[in-house]
């Protein structure tokens, strides 16, 4: 897999597997990136920004089955955000050339995706080293519990506990950083 280095993708996959802690961490991690994305395009109408952020989060949640794990997470996310933005323009009847909008959004998509990745790297630095190492091994590189245990030289149950605590810690850090 070429996208295994994407921490957001790792959280998404964990969420798809039914891990609600990872899912919450993902949605929180998306907040700043989505706010930036919409703020840049709506020129300071902050109520609209938060509306669109929430609509996008709900779509990410309700339509998560449409994410194809073989494709980059950022492309999926910003396709949804872009759709919500265009839909808003359509609804409000504003005459904006949709072609231009698409182009603009494409320009920013890459920057947004790398921003989000950097955000998560910073978060990983804030949690205990062992938990970060376990999360990188299991959620990002995709090792199973036994492989991760062998790689890190710890027990399998230790891997499971550390992964769980690590996700919790990540979620807490994200909460803190928004306060």
């Amino acid at each position: 897999m070429q996208h295994e280095d994407d921490p957001l993708r790792a959280l998404m996959l964990a969420g798809l597997a039914g891990d609600s802690v990872a899912h919450a961490a993902l949605l929180r991690a998306l907040l700043p990136a989505l706010r930036r994305f919409f703020r840049r395009r709506l020129g300071g109408r902050d109520d609209d920004v938060e509306d669109l952020v929430q609509e996008t989060l709900m779509a990410v949640h309700q339509r998560r089955a449409t994410y194809d794990p073989a494709r980059p997470f950022g492309a999926w996310l910003y396709a949804i955000a872009r759709y919500k933005l265009i839909d808003r323009y359509r609804r409000s009847g504003r005459t904006t050339s949709l072609d231009d909008l698409d182009e603009l959004a494409d320009d920013f998509a890459f920057a947004e995706a790398s921003d989000a990745r950097a955000d998560l790297d910073r978060l990983f630095e804030k949690i205990p080293q062992k938990q970060a190492a376990v999360l990188r091994a299991t959620r990002i590189e995709g090792l199973n519990t036994a492989e991760a245990a062998e790689r890190l030289g710890i027990g399998e149950s230790d891997v499971k506990v550390s992964a769980h605590r690590g996700l919790r810690a990540l979620a807490a850090r994200v909460r803190d950083s928004l306060r």
Partner: protein, 212 residues
């Protein structure tokens, strides 16, 4: 509601998503629709010589045509159901069965006296064929619309068109169980017209019905 509360509410309910959830949902919508279409075909009556026809070539030529179109359109629909999905080459690939059948049609003309061409092309049912294919595709199209309620197409007209085409081609496939026409040119014209009608309807309705 502030975004933090929203996230907390959304994260309360995170059921696992099976790996092929999207394909299953599209499949379910189509199968339920196709069952209804099958009931309609049953009501119209299966062609009396169905068993014998299944041993002949023309029946399979018709099925190869409609099923290959259906597969292409279904694949395109599956891709367009994702926000970041293009159509790949699937819609363009549909030209292959069309050209193939046209080639068979040319062979047919070569083996038929010129005086019989018109009769062969119009068959016995040209007036109702397209309409029937179109009508039989509607339950499948409705099933797909249901599938799309949880999916995330971003190119709505195109997604609607692909869904309409898939419904049309599967509808035509089932119509083959009723329709006894044997000419390739007949199928190429009247079947294709019915499928194209379903695709056009999908393209028209997509932007209205597939919004989310």
């Amino acid at each position: 509601m502030n975004s933090e509360d929203l996230i907390a509410a959304l994260s309360r309910d995170v059921p696992p998503v099976p790996r092929h959830a999207l394909g299953r949902r599209v499949g379910l919508g189509m199968v339920v629709g196709a069952l209804m279409t099958l009931v309609l075909v049953g009501a119209m009556g299966l062609r009396p010589d169905l068993m014998r026809a299944m041993h002949g070539a023309t029946f399979w030529i018709k099925w190869t045509y409609t099923i290959s179109l259906a597969i292409c359109a279904t694949a395109a629909t599956l891709r367009l159901a994702r926000p970041d999905g293009g159509v790949g080459g699937w819609l363009r690939l549909m030209i292959v069965p069309v050209l193939g059948l046209a080639l068979i049609g040319v062979g047919e003309l070569a083996h038929t006296p010129r005086a019989d061409w018109l009769a062969m092309w119009l068959g016995a049912s040209w007036k109702v064929c397209s309409r029937n294919v179109f009508a039989l595709s509607m339950p499948i199209f409705a099933g797909l619309l249901w599938s799309f309620r949880r999916l995330a197409p971003t190119r709505l007209a195109l997604a609607g068109m692909a869904a309409g085409m898939a419904a049309g081609a599967w509808g035509a496939t089932l119509y083959c169980l009723h329709c006894p026409e044997t000419s390739a040119l007949f199928v190429l014209t009247w079947y294709t017209l019915g499928m194209a009608g379903a695709a056009a309807l999908g393209a028209l309705l997509g932007p209205r019905l597939l919004r989310w």
